[in-house]
């Protein structure tokens, strides 16, 4: 089966399909579109796609069902879920079912292209499993890391605080980091909502989801000065935000644990 298309957009709302198609086509991607899950699955058997960009709310079979089939039958195809609204439930469920990431509606040009580019890059990397999931090379102690998909992680730190960072693969998929928008101190983060916005060299926006709810007490000023820490030491010195967690006991269950 040859690669016929880069992306398959599964969305029943014409204006969203058209705009996404226009943007992504202009960026040089080869796009196909389907109005519902059945058509999408039909197309997936006929052609090959690197990335499926699917709405969660579809007529008849919803996006989660499509995601399950994609992950089972087309493991090399990455899935980005479009949600009507970023909620913890949608985020966690998408990640648990193996989605690469999700993007809440309404999104802009930069956000759409950002996540698509990362997914495309990941799809290339996924051919090499070791590269896609690099080991957590930290200081050697047995620390538990709690991951929200391929997006972000958190771990316990001193004085009952927790630190949040991005997974090692994330900066690699972005390429060059131009700017990181840290959340202001004292703001409350919600699990599954936006924690940081990373702008890459070409102006695309990459959203980092907060893996836990909590109050921001400190951004990592070292990273603020030296973005390259995200590439060199993403699991230790490359943490991004320190928070006082609010509901860890309930929220950690939503995350996947990896031990160093």
């Amino acid at each position: 089966m040859k690669t016929d298309y880069d992306l398959l957009i599964v969305e029943d709302e014409p204006v969203v399909v058209e705009s996404a198609q226009k943007i992504l086509t202009t960026e040089g991607y080869k796009i196909d579109a389907a109005g519902d899950a059945e058509t999408a699955l039909q197309k997936l058997t006929e052609y090959s796609y690197q990335v499926v960009l699917s709405d969660l709310m579809l007529p008849n079979r919803d996006g989660f069902e499509l995601l399950k089939v994609v992950k089972k039958n087309f493991p090399k195809t990455q899935a980005i879920m479009i949600t009507g609204y970023a909620t913890l439930e949608n985020a966690v469920k998408s990640f648990k079912l193996g989605a690469f990431d999700f993007i809440p509606k309404p999104f802009d040009f930069e956000e759409l292209l950002g996540v698509t580019r990362r997914a495309m890059n990941f799809s290339l990397l996924a051919a090499n499993a070791a590269q896609a999931h690099p080991p957590i090379a930290a200081n050697g102690s047995e620390t538990q890391y709690y991951f929200l998909g391929e997006n972000s992680w958190t771990k316990f730190d001193r004085d009952g605080t927790m630190v949040i960072g991005v997974s090692a693969i994330f900066p690699k998929l972005i390429g060059e980091i131009h700017r990181i928008e840290f959340p202001p101190v004292n703001v409350d983060l919600q699990q599954g909502n936006v924690c940081l916005r990373i702008t890459d060299g070409s102006g695309l926006v990459h959203l980092v989801w907060s893996p836990i709810s909590g109050r921001v007490i400190q951004p990592n000023q070292v990273v603020e000065q030296h973005y390259q820490l995200l590439y060199t030491d993403p699991y230790d010195r490359g943490w991004l935000v320190r928070v006082i967690p609010e509901n860890i006991e309930l929220e950690l269950e939503n995350l996947s644990v990896r031990v160093n």
């Binding site: 709302e13 204006v15 943007i23 909620t87 509606k105 309404p106 040009f109 409350d188």
Partner: protein, 524 residues
């Protein structure tokens, strides 16, 4: 009419009064009657003794004229019907009614019966045995044509017989009319009219009846008055209150009730309607919030798609408009405003989303402090002075920390918005409070700002009601209300236009630890 309590009471008390007065009157009149009759009896006896002794001399001398004169003279006195003397054979030998003289009376007649009832005549009789009362019409002496009463009317008479005993002087008298062996020589019979006594008794009876009637009327009136005052009026008030409530007016209050049982009933009725109104308000409010939440969620989801179209196209155009500064500026406005729309929709969905309450042990004073640091800038800008009156050792309560923060954030931001730019003061007070046996943590947030007009006080917790115009979404207090309700608490507001507003939040203090709850939920 008869079903009215007052009438029933009057009927019951009236009939009781009638019975009591009737029995009472009967005994009074009866005893008066007895007293009067014995008085008459006594008088008659005395009279007959007088006649006997005054005629004794003439009798001994056998001077019949003298006896006649005495009897006639005495017989003319008022009240004396007649005076007769019978001899042993029953012949009337003297009488104040002359035509009777010489006639015989039957021994079975009333005058004779007392002694002659038995075969052997009795010789000694007590005064009561000697007395008899009879109707004047049926003559007491059968065989004797009764004399018509002087008044010509029917009436009762009292007769008294006085036996004339044989004495030595009688048989030793010159006439030797009687033999020594005889014991009773004859009988003196005095008959007296009872008309006057009867009239007196009748008058007494009449007085008694009049008294009884007026007493009953008087008692009934007093009873009616008090029943009206103590029962009728409050009952009417209660009836009209229940009718008003039945018609849906839950704000109806029974005015100035007394301290008696009906007053207590009115008080508890007022309390009941107040609670009903509260419950109804809460129900309406939750219902409104729920349906508005659904509406907001629906609208937000629908709007998200066209908004995506606008945002993607405009940001895409912006990206491509690098060469054209004018167009770039315009497109930037479109993108910025569309992103603002996105924030509004996010707010709506935040409001609509049924965020599960994640309760832990929350120290409310710490939450308040945190909120105050967040809005520090806003307060400084307004030059508002914040005064904290937070009691020491307040217990942590079982609540969702984020939602509590949202509550106090919204309330404090509102307070900051309400105060003037000079001299604004916001007081945050927190303390324990017992309400109906339950313990609550009470937080009062007061400002000396513009206040809320009375007519708007009921609307402020409604979604999309805002006084801030373009600045607010009108969801703040609705969200606060929803959160407090979910926590089993209560929020109330007092405000005086131009003077300031006080919001009072009450949250229940529960006695179990947060970790226990979390464990429960994990197991569930």
């Amino acid at each position: 009419m008869l079903h009215k309590i007052s009438n029933k009471l009057i009927l019951a008390v009236g009939s009781t009064a009638i019975t009591i007065i009737a029995i009472f009157s009967y005994f009074i009149i009866e005893s008066q009657k007895q007293a009067l009759i014995s008085q008459i009896e006594h008088n008659a006896n005395q009279l007959s003794e007088t006649i006997k002794s005054s005629t004794k001399y003439d009798m001994l001398l056998n001077q019949r004229d003298g006896v006649h004169r005495i009897i006639d003279t005495i017989g003319q006195q008022q009240g004396i019907e007649k005076i007769r003397i019978f001899n042993k054979e029953g012949e009337i030998i003297y009488s104040s009614a002359k035509e009777e003289i010489g006639e015989f009376v039957d021994k079975q007649a009333e005058s004779c019966y007392a002694c002659h009832a038995v075969d052997q005549p009795l010789e000694k009789l007590s005064i009561t045995e000697r007395t008899r009362i009879f109707e004047r019409k049926d003559s007491s002496l059968s065989g004797v044509r009764a004399a018509p009463p002087p008044s010509g009317q029917a009436g009762k008479t009292l007769g008294i017989i006085n036996p004339i005993y044989n004495e030595p002087s009688c048989w030793q008298a010159s006439c030797h009319a009687h033999e020594a062996g005889q014991k009773v020589l004859g009988v003196l019979d005095v008959t007296m009219s009872l008309d006057e006594v009867e009239a007196q008794i009748a008058a007494n009876e009449m007085r008694m009846v009049m008294f009884a009637i007026s007493a009953i009327i008087f008692i009934s009136l007093i009873l009616w008055f008090f029943v009206q005052r103590l029962v009728g009026k409050p009952v009417r008030q209660l009836v009209s209150a229940t009718n008003a409530v039945a018609c849906g007016d839950l704000n109806y209050k029974i005015p100035n009730h007394k301290k008696d049982e009906l007053g207590q009933l009115a008080k508890s009725f007022n309390e009941m309607t107040r609670k009903l109104a509260d419950a109804q308000r809460q129900l309406i409010q939750s219902d409104k919030l729920a349906s508005l939440g659904r509406l907001a969620a629906g609208v937000a989801h629908e709007i998200n798609n066209p908004l995506t179209g606008v945002l993607t196209y405009s940001s895409f155009l912006l990206k491509r408009a690098n060469g054209n500064a004018d167009m770039k500026n315009d497109l930037e406005v479109i993108v910025r405003e569309t992103k603002r729309c996105r924030q509004i929709v996010k707010g709506l969905l935040d409001f609509a989303r049924q965020v599960p309450v994640q309760k832990t042990q929350v120290a409310i004073p710490a939450v308040i402090d945190h909120v105050l640091t967040i809005i520090e800038n806003q307060l400084r800008l307004k030059k508002a002075h914040v005064k904290k009156e937070i009691a020491a050792n307040l217990p942590a309560i079982h609540a969702d920390a984020n939602q509590m923060e949202q509550v106090f954030m919204n309330l404090l931001v509102n307070a900051a918005d309400a105060v003037e730019s000079e001299g604004g003061e916001i007081v945050v007070a927190a303390d324990r409070r017992q309400v109906q046996g339950k313990e609550f943590l009470e937080v009062k947030i007061s400002d000396n700002g513009c206040g809320i007009p009375r007519e708007d006080l009921t609307k402020i917790f409604e979604p999309f009601y805002s006084t801030k115009g373009q600045k607010g979404t009108g969801l703040g207090l609705a969200v606060v209300w929803g959160i407090i309700e979910k926590h089993g608490g209560k929020i109330t507001v007092e405000s005086e236009n131009g003077k300031g507003t006080t919001f009072t939040v009450r949250l229940p203090i529960e006695e179990h630890s947060g970790s226990a709850i979390i464990r429960e939920r994990k197991n569930a």
